[in-house]
């Protein structure tokens, strides 16, 4: 549920799901100094003040309390106001608190309101196959009688499955979650669903049972791709392939194989235009995540490691 306004419109539309015979007669009604979210008339003719919220909080209590107190003090004004809805209103009004979550502290406070009939209803917004539904669960019912104690429910729970209502000392009548009277699920189809429903009645479509014939063999499961384990290592300096020492005219260079590339003033015989330090993309990629070790050849290079040109140069040097 996005906001309380959405909840208000849904409850207004499906008030009878909340309570059979309940009709919403005014929304955002200003009663005295308080604004109550919904005002309805129940099947018994009682005025029902409904406070809505996503989470039960003090604001809901104050709004309902203010509206109720004004109704009690000015009954004629209320009767006049809602005369069109019902000629005879049953008195006193009832209060319904409805929210997605009603904390224990909220319910504890509600029990201490001197209102003869209070109901705390939690709603659950459900969605299945593109269809939204709202489920109402009555969490607490507070009833006070003339003595202010033994709570006698005005609306008896006539379900045999429901446990007998036990009145708590303060008049609070806790309800089990499975109380059938307290639950209602309303289905709200979206606009797209309604268009679809106009073509194919969804309600008429029976649920297709599972076929009795043996199910076709399941398709072969493609082999799972097992991720290659990556071993994290501390990055090492990549030593380029053993550069054959270029024969400088009349001078012999001494090159340390462990020298870093920047420090080693080595000129290698590479084809022109090909940078020395350039690595293939795969190598660069590999160097980012893990360091690819390149085998450092033995030093000094054996004759088999030299190319033909290098061998010739080497021979010439030896002859000289």
């Amino acid at each position: 549920m996005k906001d309380a306004a959405t909840l208000e419109s849904l409850v207004t539309k499906h008030a009878s799901s909340l309570e059979p015979g309940l009709a919403i007669v005014e929304t955002s009604a200003l009663l005295g100094e308080s604004t109550i979210d919904l005002v309805g008339v129940g099947h018994d003719g009682a005025l029902v003040l409904i406070a809505l919220g996503l989470v039960g909080d003090g604001g809901m209590i104050l709004r309902a309390l203010g509206a109720y107190a004004w109704c009690v003090e000015y009954p004629d004004a209320v009767r006049q106001r809602y005369r069109a809805a019902r000629r005879e209103l049953r008195w006193p009004p009832r209060i319904v608190f409805m929210a997605e979550g009603l904390p224990e502290s909220f319910v504890r406070k509600v029990k201490r309101l001197g209102v003869p009939s209070i109901e705390c209803v939690e709603f659950r917004a459900l969605e299945s196959n593109g269809t939204s539904a709202l489920r109402f669960e009555r969490r607490q019912r507070v009833r006070l009688d003339a003595a202010g104690v033994a709570a006698a429910p005005v609306t008896p729970v006539d379900s045999p499955a429901a446990p007998p209502a036990t009145a708590t000392p303060n008049g609070a009548d806790p309800l089990a979650d499975g109380d059938p009277v307290a639950e209602a699920v309303i289905a709200i189809t979206t606009a797209a669903d309604e268009a679809k429903a106009s073509r194919v009645p969804a309600a008429a479509a029976p649920r297709v049972p599972a076929p009795s014939a043996p199910a076709p063999p399941a398709p072969a499961v493609p082999p799972m791709l097992v991720p290659e384990p990556v071993r994290l290592q501390t990055p090492e300096a990549v030593v380029p392939a053993a550069p054959p020492v270029a024969a400088s005219a009349g001078s012999a260079s001494v090159v340390s194989p462990n020298a870093t590339p920047s420090e080693a003033p080595v000129s290698v015989n590479t084809p022109p235009g090909k940078p020395v330090a350039e690595m293939p993309p795969a190598s660069r990629k590999g160097a980012r995540g893990r360091t690819r070790r390149r085998k450092t050849p033995a030093w000094p290079p054996t004759p088999s490691m030299l190319s033909a040109d290098e061998k010739r140069d080497d021979d010439e040097d030896g002859d000289a």
Binding site: G66, A69, W91, K111, G114, L144, G148, N170
Partner: protein, 186 residues
């Protein structure tokens, strides 16, 4: 002749100081035993014990509003639901846990809308007190005026359920809750 000049209260803290210092003027033999007590999820400004050992929850404000009602409602419900915890918190104080706590709203101004809401609370004894602070020459004076006394003397749900059918602690005017009129006498 002493001339009194009304003096505005700066904040709730100043009011709290005045009430703590002049608790006897508020009601004889009432003792303030704690301030800003957290009961459950609510914080009540002052906690007192009256002459009969009954717990008194006092909510303060410059102008009474809904927040005062909510705080009091939270603290009261917690104290009623778990009186043993209250007793445990003040072991040295002789608190009668069999008595349902009383509630006092003290403010400079208690609007009619506020009092209308307070009348609909299921609390056995509520006092709405307006406080006035005066400059009186070289000294100051304070006046507590009870503008509404609600449901005093009505045995409440918890007390009746516990078999406590004793007479009310106070002999003040019995003001029945407003909703009682809707039920015919048995």
């Amino acid at each position: 002749m002493l001339r009194l000049q009304k003096r505005a209260l700066d904040d709730v803290k100043a009011l709290e100081k005045l009430v703590v210092g002049n608790a006897e003027a508020l009601e004889p033999e009432v003792r303030i035993i704690d301030a800003r007590l957290v009961l459950g999820d609510a914080t009540i400004d002052l906690v007192g014990v009256d002459a009969d050992g009954g717990l008194t929850l006092i909510a303060l404000g410059l102008e009474a509003d809904g927040n005062m009602i909510l705080r009091t409602l939270g603290a009261f419900s917690w104290a009623v639901d778990d009186p043993a915890a209250v007793k445990q918190r003040y072991p040295a104080t002789n608190i009668d846990v069999g008595k349902v706590p009383r509630v006092m709203f003290i403010a400079e101004r208690l609007p009619e809308g506020f009092r209308r809401q307070v009348r609909q609370l299921d609390v056995p004894a509520i006092d709405c007190v307006e406080v006035r602070h005066f400059d009186a020459g070289r000294t100051t004076a304070i006046s507590f005026e009870v503008v509404e006394r609600i449901r005093r003397g009505v045995p409440v749900a918890a007390g009746a359920a516990a078999g406590d059918g004793s007479a009310p602690a106070s002999s003040a005017t019995d003001v029945s809750p407003a909703w009682r009129q809707f039920f015919p006498p048995a």
